[in-house]
Structure formats: C-alpha cells, structure tokens
Amino acid sequence: MIGYVEGRSPLHRAHPYTTLTLAGAVLFAAFAMTEPFTVWLLVLAGAALAATGGVLRSSARTALILSLPIWVLLFVLHGLLGGGARVAAGPLSLSATGVARALVLGGRVTAIVLSFLTALATTSPHRLVEAMTARGVPFGRTFLLASTLTVLPRMRERATRILEAQQCRGLRLGGSVAARVRALGPLALPLILGALAEVDEQVLALDVRGAAAADRRTALDPPADTAVQRMVRWSLLVLVAAAYAWKFIRMRG
C-alpha cells in the first residue's frame, strides 16, 4: 500500500530528484490554489502522475482510505455547520460556501497524498541514495531519508510477527475498544524496543564500515540525469513560484 513498488514506468526510470520534485510541486501548488476547480485539476494531475507510474489503482485506493477521515471531518465542519446561504441536498441542509471550502481543503489533501504515494511507489530507496551520494550529500542524511521511506513495510512486517507471538500467549485481537487499547502495550513495546535494539546494532555495524566517514562517498551506480529532466525540475519550481505570485496578486487586488 505505502512504499516502493518495482516497475519500469517512466517515473521509475526517471531521476529520483525528478519524481520527488513532481510530488513536491503538487504539494506547494495545492496551497497556492484557492478554487475548487483548480484544486481538483491538481488532483487530476496527481492521478495522471500515478497512472504514468503504473500505480494508479493502488495509490488511489490508499489515498482515499487515508483522506477519508479528513473528508468526513471537513464535510461536517464546513458543509453541515458552516454559515452563509444554505442549499438543500436531500434531507440535509448544507452551507454552499462551506461545501466549496470542504472541496478545496479535501482536494488539497487528496492531491498531496496521491502525489506522495506515487513518489514513494516509484522511487527506489537504493536509487535515491545513489543520487544523493553522487551529489555529495553526507551518508547520514541520505540514510535518514531512505530509511524513512522503507520504515513502514519493515514495521508492518515486524508488527505482524509480534502480534502472532502475543496471540499465541493468549492476547485476543479485536473486541471492545478497551480491549484493543489494552492490546497496544504488548504490540507497541516490542515493536519500538526491538526496532531500537536493531538500530543500535545497525549503527555499530555500519559505523565500522565507514558510514560516518568524512570523506565523500563514491557513488557506484548513480542514476542517469538528463538535461530534459533538469529543465522539467526547474520549470516546476518556476511554475509553483508563479502560482504563489498569482495568489498574492489576487489577494491584493
């Protein structure tokens, strides 16, 4: 659901910086947009990105699941409880401006989540590390970023094994809310402490192999970067800046 998925799409083959810039551009542009129409254009752009990466179905599904609680909240907060002129929608009385606001805020969240899921799914941590190493970024920072990308699948796998062990000790999963909350202790502690203990060992093992070395690391297989991609990245930055400029001009005027 969340994390890298192997593939050969244009996004997979692109330089990792390009993929991340695309996702970042959607993020910043989303906040520059204020109309439902433009925000939803961005959502469509995010979906197009996901399709290009060959991960449209899984990303869309995960994005919907993740943003659903926010949608419900926004709908209640702005749609049902908002002020201004009301509009009837079946048995409900909705605020027109509220609904518009909900669409903008919800759309932003959806666009951002969708584009980031796509970026995660199409950026191999390995290639990202190589790209950053080739640019001279110290290993500590690349490791931090790349590990963050892989942490969820690792944690999920670990959590599954822990839950199995605890079930075999009589811990019942599911049940009442109180029961579920009680079950967190036997899950959370081994998850976190075990992960920390493993990190401890990993830090020691990698340190002697030079992870903390001051020398510039040799990149073994840096991903190819093209002039076209560099241009695309710069253009995106310019576009985003322009979107903000437009927003401020409109706010003034």
């Binding site: 094994r161 079930q167 075999c168 000790r169 009589g170 019942r172 999963l173 402490l193 203990a197």
Partner: protein
C-alpha cells in the same frame, strides 16, 4: 496435567504459488516428544503454524485433541498449545522479566503458582525485576520459554529453542522439557540441535519439500549417518562417540553414553 494428541490429515498449504505442504498426514499421540527436522523451506514452520491456527489449511484437517483448529483463533489455541517462537524479542514487553513471564498465564486466568516454579526452573531468579531488554539475549530466550511454560499448555511447540544458549542454559531447557514429557505433555520441537533432539525426543519426523520424508525413532535416525549427511547434519557428540566406540544399545543421551562407557580405559596425558 496431561497432553493432547495432534492430528494432521491430508493437509495442503501454499503461499501464493509456492506449495509449502503437499497433502501431508501426521499423527502425534498425547505425551509423545517429537522432533521436526528438515532444511529451510521444507515446511516445518508452516506445519507448526497450522497447529496454532495462525494459518488455515487449503485442504485437509488439523486437530489438537478434540478441537478442530479450523474453528479456532490463535488466542483460543493458546489454551492448549504453547508456542515458543524462534525470536524472543518479538514478544517480550513487560516492565520486568517476572511480569512478562506472568503475562500469558494471566491472560488465561491461571493461578500464580506455575509462574514462580517456572522462574526457578529456568534459573531466572536473578533477573526477576530486570527489564527484559536489559538481560542478555540468550536469557531472553529462556524468558520467552518460561512465559509459555507458565501457561501450562497440554502441547508444547518450540522453534529452535536452543539457538544461542550456552551449555548450562541448554541443560535447563532439556530438564524443563523432560519434566513436561514426564507429566504427559505432548512436545513438538523444530531444531537443528541434534544433541538437544537426542536428549528430549523419542521420535523424529523429517520433512522435505512439503512432504514427510521419514518418520522414525530418534535412536535409529541419529545413528543413520547417511540420513544425517543427506540433510547436511552431523550426529551429536554422544552419538559420534557411541558409534566410534561401538557402544552397545545405540545410546543417544548423555547419561546413556556415560553409563555405556563405564568400562573404558583412558590414556593419561601430561599437560
């Protein structure tokens, strides 16, 4: 406490496209002590997971005593089967070793008694109030074992229980298992440690590529050098000695070999 018999009837299981178990059948009587042996990927772990309802068979039936596992959850199976996973770190979480050992038996609503007894039995007294993650790794394994023993299950399934343990600790584990077998608990051990198998198991089931390749008494298996070699295993020291010295009775346990060697004369050597 008495044990339950285990019945696996024509069971198949696949992980996606990969067949892990191909229509196998196995019957283990109540109170038997069986070692499950085979290379990685042979299906041993899959088999044990089926017994505690962590997996559901694609075909066939799995039963523990009069319970059909198909209708049970793992936490329900915990009432009858104590499963000790290979990596203790996946389950220790309480603030102290004592609390962690008591966790399982509390879940089942059992009395306090067994917890203290098991504590002493596995030599954990000095670690009673220490946080589980502050004790050495091998001791954590014993804590995990203690936690399961304290639940007083009728069946014990252990996955590589002696990996990382030193000799005194292994002896504690052997003694604990023998005590349970003596009182009728059914024991199933997955282990490469043939010395441990020799000390605790009466029967060996060999698995290969999802099938049962052999099912024979431990004694005859351990003295079959060819069978061991084909599994890339070496006989335990006691058996090597028994075979080299042609000791009568095919002894496999420490005490048996020591007794059989009573007539041996030794060369003196100076240091």
């Amino acid at each position: 406490m008495s044990g339950y018999d285990l019945r696996i009837e024509s069971v198949s299981y696949a992980y996606g496209d990969v067949e892990a178990l191909r229509g196998i059948s196995l019957a283990i009587g109540a109170g038997e002590s069986v070692a499950l042996i085979g290379r990685n990927g042979a299906g041993k772990t899959t088999l044990t997971r089926l017994l505690v309802a962590l997996l559901r068979p694609a075909a066939g039936r799995v039963a523990v005593g009069d319970w059909d596992v198909a209708g049970k959850r793992p936490d329900e199976m915990a009432r009858r089967v104590g499963y000790v996973f290979q990596h203790a770190d996946h389950q220790l979480f309480a603030r102290s070793v004592r609390e962690d050992v008591a966790f399982g038996s509390r879940r089942l609503g059992r009395r306090e008694g067994p917890v203290s007894e098991v504590f002493e039995e596995l030599g954990l007294a000095e670690y009673a109030d220490v946080h589980p993650y502050d004790v050495p790794a091998p001791v954590r394994k014993l804590v995990a074992l203690a936690g399961v023993l304290a639940m007083e299950p009728g069946v014990l399934i252990l996955d590589e229980p002696t990996a990382g343990l030193d000799r005194p600790q292994r002896e504690l584990a052997v003694a604990a298992l023998r005590r349970r077998t003596g009182s009728g608990v059914t024991v199933l051990v997955v282990s490469h440690d043939l010395g441990f198998v020799a000390e605790t198991a009466g029967r060996v089931v060999v698995m290969e590529a999802g099938r049962i390749a052999a099912d024979r008494p431990a004694r005859s298996f351990l003295y079959d050098a060819g069978a061991l070699a084909s599994l890339a295993l070496r006989p335990p020291a006691a058996v090597e000695i028994g075979a080299a010295l042609k000791l009568p009775g095919a002894p496999i346990r420490f005490q048996e070999v020591a007794a059989a060697m009573r007539g041996v004369r030794w060369k003196e050597i100076s240091e």
